[in-house]
Symmetry: C2
Subunit: 173 residues, 2 copies
């Protein structure tokens, strides 16, 4: 069971996917969206509480995140970094290993094309999970795509060299 | 009692200052430095565990942080954001309000000059806290400067308008 997370301080998408034989099965997905009017720390706390509940309920074996090397500007990079930091420390508390994949690896793993359009990724996530289009849940679909990417890269032995970076070994200190 | 924090994923400085009558008294200061070789999540966990211990022991009434609007590049902005996010969520768990101040407000509050050099700030922190120069602890000195800034801005009614942003009200959700 792999938990994909698409972090954001306004909306954090999550999705858990499990491999059962040859099939990929969606266990759950959704968005954790604290009120945008709340102070930053309260939003981060809201998100980590939500993630904690999900991890307690499903006990995923790995977390899959998108790697980030680009941002519009320093402000948006810091904002995204803050959401990532809050969730990384929460995942680390559970001792769950965290892997990160580049956006093109995720597209490659889901559609077979590293340059696929967003809509194509969304559509393929729905097809792969036999869940139809997961309407209106862009962050959650991205999170499911990350979970699929990790499952496909790992279990099929197709792990993209140099692309999957282990952020956290799962050993707590 | 105010806790200043200078976040970083390799070294996070902290310092607690208390106002006693007209004097500012240093309660504690230091660096929390996880091994640089540890994975990111483990470093963030190490730092938040350290901060948690400090907050449990001293129960500060406020946390003072430096505001960030600038970074060398997206990567360093994300790295700094991650350290900030991890500590913000930890502080929020304690229900302690978080204030942030611009670098120039901190310099102004400590030296009377918003464009003071780093060395000048360090020297004044030592003089104000009657602690001499706090040798080799740059992050910790910056954290003490942040605590002083909050105490001076607040208790002297000199709060710099538009500069001190309340990041977290202290109410947990």
């Amino acid at each position: 069971m792999v938990l994909g997370i698409d972090p954001g301080s306004v909306s954090t998408g999550y999705g858990i996917v499990e491999r059962k034989g040859n099939a990929l099965v969606r266990i759950c997905h959704g968005d954790i969206s604290p009120g945008a009017g709340l102070p930053l720390s309260s939003r981060l706390l809201f998100i980590t509480k939500g993630l904690r509940e999900i991890m307690e309920e499903f006990r995923p074996e790995a977390v899959s995140l998108e790697s980030v090397f680009y941002a519009k500007n320093a402000r948006s990079a810091i904002t995204l970094g803050q959401a990532r930091g809050a969730l990384l420390v929460t995942v680390a508390e559970f001792g769950i290993p965290v892997y990160e994949y580049s956006p093109s690896s995720v597209k490659q793993a889901v559609t077979g094309n590293g340059r696929a359009a967003k809509e194509e990724v969304q559509k393929m996530v729905g097809l792969l999970l036999k869940a139809g289009l997961i309407a209106g849940k862009k962050d959650a679909t991205d999170a499911l795509a990350l979970a699929i990417c990790h499952l496909n890269s790992h279990s099929a032995g197709l792990r993209v060299k140099g692309e999957a970076a282990l952020l956290h070994t799962g050993r707590t200190i």
